[in-house]
Symmetry: C2
Subunit: 195 residues, 2 copies
DNA sequence: GTCTATATGACGATAGAC
DNA sequence: GTCTATCGTCATATAGAC
C-alpha cells in the first residue's frame, strides 16, 4: 500500500522465488546460491532462513513449480486427444517446448541435484507429469514390461533432445525450436511404431 | 627408485589426474575442485598450478581422456561391421556401456561445463567420436539434412538413455546394464527404421 | 520479518622461500 | 617442483538485536 520498500512486508518469499528462478536460469541449478538470491531480492544473506529452512528447500519449491507448469502445458495440449501414439508425440514435443521457453523452470526441475525424498511435494508434482506418458505407453503395449521399456525410451528421447537443443554447441538440430520440435515428433513416432 | 614419497618427483601430474578422476566420479564434474584433488594427491593446494594453468585445464584433460577411451571402445566394437544401421545400434550400446562402466570419465566428458573452445585437444577428441555416428547417419540418409536429423535423434536417444539409467531414481529400465543395453539397441533400430 | 554480527569453512589464484 | 603464506571471495547457517 504505502510506497516504502516492498519486500520488507510479507513479499520476501515471492521475491526470493523470483530471484532464485532468474539465478537458476543464468547459472544452472547446480551453481545456485541462497546468498545471491537474497542479494538480488535486496535483503541480507540470513533473511531467507525465515522462509526456507535451507538452500535446497527454495530450490525444491522452484522445481516443483516447474513440474506443475509442465503438467498444465500437457493438459492443455492433450485436451481431446485419445490416440496413445499421438499423446506420446505431443507430450514429447511439449516437453521440448517447455525446456526451451521456460528454461529456468526446466533447469530447476530437471537439473537440480537435490534429495527429492526430502521434499514430497516435489515428488508428487513430478509423478503427475510422468503418469501421462506412462499411461500412453501402457495403452500402446499391453505387456507391462514392454510398456515400461517404451516409456523409458520415449522419456530418454525427449530428455536427450532437450539437452542437445539447449546445450550442444554443435547445434545439430539448428536454432529453430519449430524445426527441432518436428524432428522430435517424427523420432517419437518412429520409435513408437518400430518398438 | 628410493623409498621416499613418490609424488614429489615428477609423478604429481599423474597423481592429480587420478585424484581428479576419482573426485569427478564421486561428486560430479560440476562440484570438482582443484584444492581437493591436491589434498587427495597429498600435496598443497598450490602445487597443481605447476602442472595445470587453472582448474578447468585439469578437467579438460580428464574429459579428453574420456572421449579417447570411448573412441577406442567404439573402434573395437565396430571392427568388421559395415552395415550403417548396425553401426548406429552398436555405437549407442557402447556409449551406454561406457557411461556406466567408466562413470567418472563419462561425467568428465559429458557433464563438465567448461569452455571447450579454450581446449582444442578436447574438441578434437570429441569430434573423433561423433564422426563415427555422423558417418553412419550419412550412409543411412543420402539427404544431408535428413542425415543430420537422424544423427541428432540417435545422439539424443543414447544420451537420454545414459542419463536415465544413471540418474533417474525411478530406475525405469531396471538395474541391469545388459537389459538397458538391449532396450537401447532395440529403440535405436526402431528409430533408424522408422525415420 | 529483517537486521547485524559472527562462526566456520570452502575455493581459485599468486608471491616468494626452499 | 613443492612448500608456506596469503589475499580476496564466496558460501551455509546460527544467535541475538531491533
Amino acid at each position: 500500500m504505502t510506497t516504502h520498500d516492498s519486500y520488507h512486508h510479507g513479499d520476501l518469499r515471492n521475491a526470493l522465488e523470483r530471484a532464485a528462478l532468474e539465478l537458476v536460469g543464468e547459472k544452472g541449478a547446480d551453481n545456485f546460491s541462497l546468498s545471491e538470491a537474497a542479494r538480488r531480492a535486496g535483503v541480507s544473506p540470513s533473511a531467507p532462513y525465515k522462509h526456507f529452512a535451507e538452500r535446497d528447500a527454495l530450490l525444491a519449491v522452484i522445481a516443483a513449480k516447474g513440474h506443475r507448469f509442465l503438467h498444465a502445458m500437457l493438459r492443455t495440449a492433450l485436451a481431446g486427444e485419445s490416440d496413445p501414439a499421438q499423446i506420446m508425440r505431443i507430450a514429447n514435443e511439449v516437453f521440448l517446448t517447455f525446456a526451451v521457453e521456460q528454461h529456468a523452470l526446466y533447469e530447476a526441475s530437471y537439473y537440480s541435484r537435490i534429495d527429492a525424498e526430502r521434499y514430497p511435494e516435489l515428488m508428487i508434482a513430478y509423478k503427475r507429469v510422468t503418469d501421462i506418458t506412462d499411461d500412453a505407453a501402457a495403452r500402446l503395449r499391453p505387456d507391462p514390461a514392454e510398456a515400461i521399456g517404451l516409456a523409458a525410451a520415449c522419456g530418454s528421447l525427449r530428455y536427450g533432445f532437450a539437452a542437445t537443443f539447449l546445450f550442444d554447441r554443435e547445434k545439430p538440430m539448428g536454432e529453430s525450436l519449430v524445426t527441432a520440435r518436428d524432428q522430435l515428433g517424427r523420432a517419437t513416432i518412429a520409435l513408437v511404431n518400430g518398438y
